[in-house]
Every structure is written in structure tokens, then in C-alpha cells.
């Protein structure tokens, strides 16, 4: 039950790890927007997409996410990719005109392939970007970051602190409950309950025999935890000090500006319908993007070597 690698925190001290969680959340959202922007032609889409892929891969390496974990995170995508390809091939995009090849009586269009590739690329990048965030940020810092974004909502009586506390406790108890699930499954298996084989109805029964004890124990746990928190003086309404303090450093300011530039750059690029053949803006933009990527990579490398020394 410990093979939950997606979204696992990888302890290390890279400069991405040291970034402020609030800034990382902003960067994630900004980069996702950038990745999801549509461009007028497939050429631009794939040039920008490819650049992003290199960028994201470099970030993954800097974050010390193992290649194994990257592949594991993409495993869930296979099914989706196949479905997507089938749909796009049988129901081609409206502007499809270039036949790539024919499969029996069905024409497979280049546009259909490109369309699928575009969506797959976006999905992969989205998953990997999220993975960078979760791999480099402790769950608790992440919730504090989220809490910070939710703070303005306190004006309309939104319980930002309570929500953040709830999330952090949920995160804290996920491994405990996974262990418990494992234990109950073993206990029920030893009583002859079969979780893997048999008719759907009997498997459903097996799952019920797992879920009910799990719920009972979870309720018991939550009651005891509440008692313990209260006895230690916790009062969600009272003022508390903070052990974790989020710090926005100079490094954060840089990355904040850079990621902001990347996002606005891509928006401009898509908005003005530039064409690869006629516009001289594209090379400049690509150059800027490349510079940013190189900057980030260099900072990462310097950082990594300094750690070692």
C-alpha cells in the first residue's frame, strides 16, 4: 500500500524546494494557463509545446523526481490516450483535409493525429507540473499556501483556517488509513472474504466488509484526535501563532516575474494570430523563452553543485 508515488513529497533541498509555497501555487497555475493556450497553427503549438516539454523536464530533474516516478505518474494516461486517438480518428476535427493514410474505408487525417498529440502533450505537461509542485512542497506548506489564497474569503465568513487545518489533517491521516485498509483487508481475507475473484455481487459484499470497519475506525480516530487537539488548547476561533512561516524571497520574486512573463508571452502569442512565416516576433519570443529556460537550468545546476560541495 506504499506505492502511492503520484504526488509524493521528495525531500531534497533544491531551489524549487526552497521556493515559497504560495509562489509555487501561482507558478503552477500560470504555467498551466500557458500550456493550455491555443495557437493558430500546429507549427507554433508544437514548437511552444516542445519548448515547454524541455522546460518541464528540466524542472523535474532539478526537483529530483526520479524518472521511474515520472513514468509511473504517466501510467494512468495510457487508457486516455487510446480513447482519444480512437475518437479523433473516427470523428476527425472539422478542418481536417490532409489525409495521412487510409485504414480500410476510414481516412486518417493529419489534423486528427495532431489534435490528439496536442491534447496528450497538454495533459502530460499538466500532470508533470502538478507533480513538481507536490514533489517539492511539504503537504503542510501547501495547505498554508492555499490558506493564504483563501484568506480574503474570510471577509465573507469563509472558514479558511478550518479548511486548511482539515486538509492538513486529512493529508496526515492518509498513510494511517491506508495501513488500516491493508490490515482490515488481511483480516477479512483470513476470514475467507475474497477481494479479487468471484462474481460482482460477492465482490461488492467483500468491499462492504472492508468499508464498514474502515469507517467505524475512522470515526473513532477523529473523535480521539479532536479530544487530543482540544486538550492541547486548540481553538479554531482563538488567535494562534505559527510555527511554519512562509517567506517570499528574492528568488521567489524572480521566478514570479519570469513565470508571469511566460504566461503573458504565450497569451500575446496566441492573441495576435502571428504566423510563423511572416512575423519576426516569433523568434524573439522563442529566444526569450529559451533564455528563461537556460536561466532556470543554470540556477538549478549551480544550486545542485553547491549542495554537493
Amino acid at each position: 500500500m506504499t506505492n502511492v508515488s503520484l504526488g509524493r513529497y521528495v525531500p531534497y533541498n533544491s531551489f524549487i524546494h526552497r521556493m515559497d509555497a504560495r509562489n509555487k501555487i501561482f507558478c503552477l497555475i500560470a504555467l498551466m494557463v500557458a500550456v493550455f493556450i491555443s495557437y493558430p497553427t500546429y507549427e507554433i503549438t508544437f514548437i511552444v509545446g516542445g519548448a515547454f516539454a524541455v522546460f518541464v523536464f528540466a524542472l523535474l530533474m532539478i526537483s529530483h523526481v526520479s524518472v521511474k516516478d515520472i513514468f509511473k505518474s504517466l501510467r494512468v494516461l495510457w487508457f486516455f490516450i487510446i480513447v482519444l486517438l480512437i475518437i479523433n480518428i473516427f470523428i476527425p476535427p472539422r478542418d481536417a483535409s490532409n489525409v495521412a493514410f487510409a485504414m480500410g474505408s476510414v481516412n486518417v487525417y493529419w489534423e486528427a493525429i495532431f489534435q490528439s498529440l496536442k491534447i496528450i502533450l497538454r495533459l502530460v505537461l499538466m500532470i508533470e507540473l502538478t507533480m513538481i509542485l507536490t514533489a517539492t512542497t511539504k503537504p503542510l506548506d501547501l495547505t498554508y499556501g492555499l490558506e493564504w489564497y483563501l484568506t480574503p474569503l474570510k471577509l465573507i465568513k469563509f472558514p479558511a483556517h478550518e479548511v486548511a487545518m482539515t486538509i492538513s489533517i486529512a493529508l496526515r491521516f492518509i498513510p494511517t488509513l491506508l495501513d488500516e485498509t491493508d490490515r482490515i483487508m488481511k483480516a477479512q481475507s483470513s476470514r475467507g472474504v475474497d477481494f479479487k475473484h468471484g462474481k460482482i455481487s460477492s465482490r461488492l459484499k467483500a468491499i462492504v466488509s472492508l468499508i464498514i470497519p474502515l469507517f467505524i475506525s475512522a470515526f473513532q480516530r477523529s473523535e480521539e484526535l479532536a479530544d487530543s487537539m482540544e486538550a492541547r488548547g486548540y481553538d479554531p476561533k482563538a488567535k494562534r501563532t505559527r510555527y511554519h512561516i512562509l517567506r517570499f524571497s528574492l528568488n521567489d520574486l524572480f521566478t514570479f516575474l519570469l513565470v508571469g512573463a511566460i504566461m503573458s508571452g504565450t497569451i500575446i502569442l496566441s492573441h495576435y494570430e502571428f504566423n510563423l512565416q511572416t512575423q519576426s516576433f516569433i523568434p524573439w519570443y522563442c529566444l526569450i523563452l529559451i533564455c528563461i529556460f537556460i536561466y532556470v537550468i543554470i540556477v538549478g545546476i549551480i544550486d545542485a553543485t553547491r549542495r554537493k560541495a
Binding site: D227, S228, M229, E230, A231, G233, Y234, R240, T241
Partner: protein, 271 residues
């Protein structure tokens, strides 16, 4: 000096059966009190009443010269800590560090003092090397020691242990007990109320309270309690093996003093 005074404490969950039925005792500064009794005799309920997790009848609990009521609750909780049975269900933080900090945050300790306090009390329970470990990577005994550090960091006058070692293996039990002994040595004014099924532990305390169906059937020092084995039969508490053994021996006409070590008893027997 009396820190806590309990006077005719009555409590019922369902308004029909009194789970705690007219209990009175007091906790003096520096005393180590054990509460023993069979399952369901109301021990945990008393612990929860003392720390205000359950509402006691009026004027029944006085702590630090304050009435235990909604107004004084916060002040009293600052001076009484409790360690529960299940090590997992009282670990709030995502790491050892965060868990010890949790109580400090509630007490509004300034941020820049927290690290020192955390280090100091983690060292006291021998957990300094585990500060950044998550609870799933700790043993039960280690988690209970973290819980103790979290309570100690809040500098209480009284600590209640509600079967704090009952879910631990012998090694974990020993580690936790050593931590408790150490903290008593360092702070002789610290009072301890220990709810336990482990009679050996109970008989090493200053005072033993035997509870039966919500009533106190005996409240005395361990030596006097041991004089009356009938209490144990009635209240369904199992005597430690050594005491049972000695009782049987004395019935058979062999008298050996109870405070001898096991080795001495064997020697005595072989003669």
C-alpha cells in the same frame, strides 16, 4: 499543596446510569497517583472530566484554586496535559517537529522561541534525531514519547496518562516509562495521574485509587492496598504475578516479604 480537588464528581452519558458516581480525591503537587479498575469502570471518563472534555457537575472539580467551568477552562488546560492510549490518534502534526509545535501555536508562543523549545523537549524524550520524521515512520513508543514532549513543552503542573503504554510492545512501554521517570526527576513538583491496567506500574506510584463501577473502593498507598487482596477480586483487577505468587505461598505457609526482588524470592524458596 493541593493542585486538583475532586469532590463528589458524578457523570452520566445517558442520564440514566452514573458512569462516575460520587468520586472524591485530590492531587497534590509532586504526587504520582495511579487509577486502576476493570474495563468500563469510568477511568477514562474521569480523565476527560478533569481536562474539561466532558462537563462535570457543578462545583465538583476545583483546579489551581479555580472552579472548572467554561470561563476557567482555558487557564486550567494550560496547566494540565493528557496523553491518551492510541499513539496514532493524538499525532496532529505532519512531522515530530510540527506535532510538538502544535501545542505551542495554541499557546501563542512567539515563532522565534519555538525551535529552541522543540529541541529542548525532543531531547528530553530522546527524539532529537527524529524531528523531521513523519508519524508513519515512527514506532508506537516513539509516537507516545512525542506526545509526552508535546505536553511537557507546554510546561504543565499535572499530566494525566490514560493507558498511555497499553498499546505498546514491551520495548515501547519501557521507553515511555523511562521518559516519565526522567521528567519526574527533573521536575519534582510535577504531579502525575496514571490510569493503567499494569499493576506493577501502579504499585510503584505514591497512591493507588481503585475504581469499581464509577465508585472509589480504595484510595491508599500501594502497601496498604496490597494488604487487602479482596479489593482486587471484587473490582476484577488482576494482581501482578509476583503478588499472586506470594499470596499463594503465604497460604501454603511460606512467608516471604513482598519487597524482595525476584532473585531473593527464588533464593528463599530453594532454601
Amino acid at each position: 499543596m493541593k493542585l486538583i480537588e475532586v469532590n463528589n464528581l458524578v457523570f452520566s452519558y445517558d442520564k440514566k446510569i452514573n458512569v462516575v458516581d460520587g468520586v472524591s480525591f485530590s492531587v497534590e503537587s509532586g504526587k504520582y497517583i495511579s487509577i486502576i479498575g476493570h474495563n468500563g469502570s469510568g477511568k477514562s471518563t474521569i480523565a476527560k472530566l478533569l481536562i474539561g472534555l466532558l462537563e462535570a457537575n457543578k462545583d465538583s472539580i476545583k483546579a489551581f484554586d479555580m472552579e472548572l467551568n467554561a470561563k476557567n477552562l482555558r487557564a486550567i488546560r494550560q496547566r494540565v496535559g493528557i496523553v491518551f492510549q492510541n499513539p496514532d490518534n493524538q499525532f496532529v502534526g505532519s512531522t515530530v517537529r510540527d506535532d510538538i509545535a502544535f501545542g505551542l501555536e495554541n499557546r501563542q508562543i512567539p515563532h522565534d522561541q519555538m525551535d529552541d523549545i522543540i529541541n529542548k523537549f525532543a531531547a528530553k524524550v530522546n527524539m532529537l534525531d527524529f524531528l523531521d520524521k513523519e508519524p508513519e515512520n515512527l514506532s508506537g513508543g516513539q509516537k507516545q514519547r512525542v506526545a509526552i514532549a508535546g505536553i511537557l513543552a507546554m510546561n504543565p503542573d499535572v499530566i494525566i496518562f490514560d493507558e498511555a503504554t497499553s498499546m505498546l510492545d514491551p520495548k515501547g512501554k519501557r521507553e515511555v516509562r523511562e521518559s516519565i521517570e526522567l521528567m519526574r526527576k527533573e521536575n519534582p513538583n510535577l504531579s502525575i495521574i496514571s490510569i493503567t491496567h499494569d499493576l506493577e506500574e501502579a504499585f510503584s506510584s505514591d497512591e493507588v485509587i481503585v475504581l469499581q463501577k464509577g465508585k472509589i473502593v480504595a484510595d491508599d498507598n500501594p502497601e496498604n492496598i496490597l494488604e487487602k487482596p479482596g479489593i482486587f477480586v471484587e473490582s476484577g483487577v488482576d494482581l501482578p504475578f509476583k503478588n499472586k505468587f506470594l499470596n499463594l505461598l503465604s497460604q501454603a505457609g511460606i512467608e516471604i516479604k513482598n519487597d524482595e526482588s525476584l532473585e531473593r524470592i527464588v533464593e528463599e524458596l530453594c532454601r
